[in-house]
């Protein structure tokens, strides 16, 4: 397994952990309708859980500088695919409720952070998957 594939698997694992931690916290906040100090405490706990994962993901960027030109090309292509997936995801998330619920209806506010976290997950998932698929296809062709 190349360094690029290892980075993709690592990225996928980290973002999944991040989502597993954050989504229940958002649901808890929404269900409890917490306000004031209770709300701040829950946000603090969530930040404490998510920030180490976010830090590791950011540190990974220094690891990626060691990629060679082919790996950088695969990474750039994967980034384009992830950007495309993100746009499609956001377009679906924003327009489907509009057409399903109608223009005069309302949606709950807690969907907003959920959309944010799901957008990040979608982009990272698409990025990692695109890298893994490209590497697998190349390996198959090379055999």
């Amino acid at each position: 397994m190349s360094r690029l594939q290892k980075a993709a698997w690592f990225n996928l694992a980290m973002i999944t952990i991040c989502i597993i931690i954050s989504i229940p916290c958002i649901f808890f906040l929404a269900r409890e309708n917490a306000k004031g100090i209770e709300y701040l405490l829950t946000c603090f706990v969530m930040a404490c859980l998510v920030s180490p994962v976010a830090y590791v993901l950011l540190k990974k960027k220094s690891f990626e500088t060691g990629f060679d030109e082919r790996e950088k090309m695969i990474n750039r292509r994967a980034f384009t695919i992830s950007a495309l997936c993100l746009i499609i995801f956001l377009a679906c998330v924003c327009t489907i409720p509009f057409f399903v619920l109608g223009g005069q209806n309302v949606i709950k506010v807690y969907y907003l952070p959920l959309i944010f976290f799901c957008s990040i997950f979608t982009a990272q998932f698409a990025h990692s998957t695109a890298i893994l698929i490209q590497c697998t296809l190349e390996e198959e062709d090379g055999q």
């Binding site: 030109e69 082919r70 790996e71 190349e138 062709d141």
Partner: protein, 73 residues
């Protein structure tokens, strides 16, 4: 319409230079073994600096390593 293809003699050059492994060549030109595999298989066209590095490693000109084929159909 014509199709362009970059063929190469990397595999032959490796064996002519003391049965050099893909990993050894990759280390010499500072890329991964997967990149050498992709170049040898014609799946990846290297950049000009990398192509020159590969040619210099074997002590030959770039034309001796890479050939540009333009197939007219």
């Amino acid at each position: 319409m014509g199709s362009n293809r970059l063929s190469n003699n990397l595999r032959r050059l490796r064996f002519e230079n003391g049965q050099m492994t893909q990993q050894q060549l990759a280390d010499k030109v500072s890329v991964t073994r997967q990149t050498i595999i992709a170049i040898e298989a014609g799946k990846y066209a290297p950049s000009l600096p990398l192509a020159f590095k590969l040619a210099h490693t074997f002590g030959v000109s770039i034309e001796d390593v890479f050939q540009y084929e333009n197939e007219q159909s």
